[in-house]
Symmetry: C2
Subunit: 530 residues, 2 copies
Amino acid sequence: MNKLRLSDSSSLQNSETVNKVWSDFERSVRSAHQKRCADTRIIRAADLDIDLSLQHNSQEMNDASVALLEAHHFNTMRQALFRGEHVNWTEDRPALHTALRQSPAPEVVSAQIAESLACMKAFVDQCNARNQFRNIVHLGIGGSDWGPRMVWESLRGHETRRKLRFAANIDAQAITTALDGLDPRDTLLVIASKSFTTIESITNAKYALQWMRNAGVEDPYAQTVALTANRKAAQAFGVPDAQIFEFWDWVGGRYSLWSSIGMSLALTLGWSTFLQLLAGARDMDTHFMDSPVQTNAPVQMALSAVANTSVLGYSSQVICPYDARLAGFVMWLQQLEMESLGKSVDENSRPIRLHISPAVWGMPGTDSQHTFFQWLHQDQTGAPVDFIVRRSADCQHPEHQRLLVANCLAQRATLWQGKPLEQVRQELAQAGRSEDDIEKLAPHLVHPGNRPSTLIVLPELSAHTLGSLLALYEHKVFVQSVLWGINPFDQWGVEFGKNMARRMTQGDQQALGDLDASTRYWMQSLLSDG
Amino acid sequence: MNKLRLSDSSSLQNSETVNKVWSDFERSVRSAHQKRCADTRIIRAADLDIDLSLQHNSQEMNDASVALLEAHHFNTMRQALFRGEHVNWTEDRPALHTALRQSPAPEVVSAQIAESLACMKAFVDQCNARNQFRNIVHLGIGGSDWGPRMVWESLRGHETRRKLRFAANIDAQAITTALDGLDPRDTLLVIASKSFTTIESITNAKYALQWMRNAGVEDPYAQTVALTANRKAAQAFGVPDAQIFEFWDWVGGRYSLWSSIGMSLALTLGWSTFLQLLAGARDMDTHFMDSPVQTNAPVQMALSAVANTSVLGYSSQVICPYDARLAGFVMWLQQLEMESLGKSVDENSRPIRLHISPAVWGMPGTDSQHTFFQWLHQDQTGAPVDFIVRRSADCQHPEHQRLLVANCLAQRATLWQGKPLEQVRQELAQAGRSEDDIEKLAPHLVHPGNRPSTLIVLPELSAHTLGSLLALYEHKVFVQSVLWGINPFDQWGVEFGKNMARRMTQGDQQALGDLDASTRYWMQSLLSDG
């Protein structure tokens, strides 16, 4: 294994330094938490404003953060990422998604990428020139699904050339709903699977091909495209060679939106929109590479996350875009963060002692306010929130936009401000409640406050700003992985259950022998007469 | 305040007992956790099978649980709930959602409910007889939205009389998307708001009325229905009196699906389907009232939740329905649990010392497997999972159904079973990896296992089984609230941010004076030229 990391001897020499900087960092975070300081701290990154004013902060914390980054060789690791060194060392390969948006990259992949983009563009141009395919059905799951799905949901309001539908789940509901009402003769199947063995995507693709055959399509494979890192498997499946668009093992599934996985978007939103998405991400790459750490948005967001998780003990990170179209962004981010950081073992293959990797979940506001904001305000701990809001006045609906923005700002402000017991008592007294009532009721109306959040302001929701937003979070997660000492690019935990499912459907008795009695009972009851 | 609780003196005398039973319970849970026992334990409740075999359990834990329930006067509290005593004591009122499904209830509300159901049915019959309204647009948010939305998404596959669309968010995207393509002359607006002051629902309703006027509808109010506990406000808004369907202050928003809030479902899925939903919930009420605690599904699920949260320290509860149609169920449950349990103060108005109220989030499988199951398997702690699966063979798609069920069972089994270091080493050796590689890689492939989960098996997805499922969780949450000593029926934390948003849009300078500098900056930048 040609693993990229600092040599063991250097990291052992370093361990005392690391312990020291961590304890300095912890002390500084606790102190900032106690002081509840809210100095304005807004970072401009690409076209985005990232406001960290309501994250705990202080000069002492800044100094400790710089030392922490240095102790973890942040500069070296950042360079290693962009240069294509084997940062994914458990799988012995680089993670070069940044190269896909044409940020500086090793020449050999630049050539591959340019060729792939040219092939994609040629296919899109050809479909447009021939006016082919009114409908695209994109069949992928996880990393091959969330990226395109989220971008489509965010930008579909613009004029689109074609309809796009998605089916991911193995539940037949997904594929039957996706195909419902479409004309099979005018539909292109896009099979997106890095390995081209993903059971969901292959099963749904077979179903869709049969649906085409049933409708009299003579050569359904002619209406099929594969987006994959396994050309041979796609060929064997029957996809014509010219319709296989490759990406490579150094593109992680959850970073694959920037690769040929974006094909369905290029076909529907247009080639130039796809390029704008890449350009937005590239602008954030540049910011991440070039900005000093104090004004580097991914770095500062990561430091807040580390402070909140590893020092203050928060177990969740909540995401609330105040834009209904960004519902899918929450899912995309959930995968990015939880697959990247949901690990227990560090770069030295030892258990991590810090508390890392919060659960990431959320929902667009204002829906979320009526769903779980009670918990954010009054649970024993709550969780930090990332608020995302767009600046554009959206002149057609000024009243709606004004209320949307006010709610976002108000929730963020009140989570921070809180409402102390004395204020509650005064309000109850003003409302004419009796002393006895106030005594019993007031504690239930207290809001502890001091609950941190980040505000991200987009000038508008466009392919460019969305590209920047996604890259912002990609790099934030990378910085967290550096500080926590884990490999964010592998996902060994995804295979175990999948393999067990395959063995169950194949009736592999050896594998099943060790299973608990309840599982064996349900296999008998639910699977045996399948 | 006419608060229902055990008298302070009795609870003070009781406090030693309570401490004792809690420490017995804690010890029993830790011991069961260590023993990793998985004896089969399946409870039949209504038509559902609830399998708790892979939750930590033992005879000792059973005994301690019984004592815990007794110390918290569970039997008395359960009776008080159904009898309409003031279990919502901070708001001095009963919580009688069970009466809405005609489980035994005080006679006075029975009469109200029967009358309301008769009015609802008459309106539905009239619309059907006149063949009125091809489209229903339901305007509510939170409790006035998730219930109907989730049931609609779950059951819309059946033949439906009318189209139903929802708009909840104040983001104009929600209402414009909901109205897009509908014929205003053939559309009924259903405004669902308990207070009839909810800013989102009222703003969206005004927008929709204007949309009707713009299309030449002369009397848009004639095509408007109100579902509310505030008849006067609905009248003042302009809704004809005969089209106002009331519910009452003793129906909490998150329990209001069973009230007139179900109107949109009755109009689309049919009156008998709505009654089946109620009947399914009633069957679960009966199970909850009559079953001994050892075989009482809501009680046992609550005990597992309390063990996982308050003893083992889990901070999340993950929900994975293996049915794509149940995506909305996760949101409904998120509100139910997090608004009900997201509190910090107990029935004596003192801070709760136990760790309570996990974050509740999730996603249908198999999508979730490709999103956050890495974290469930290999994060330092992960979280307990509720798996939900349907039994029905769904003969049209046997291959899909088989794979769906196998994946559900496999994930549950592997989370419990784990994969120890020695097994990983063997597998790597068999795969031909070098000793050096195995040494470094093996720890990254370990799955600790012993991660608990519940499996709920539905015979099919129908109005009846869905009703049972929802009531199961309602009662589970109630039992948790009893054991944690909190009022699950209030939500004081929802008001604070909402009020601040109102003050911001009204430019209330007094309220704004205390705000942090960043919030004031963004108000200036984002709201001042609105």
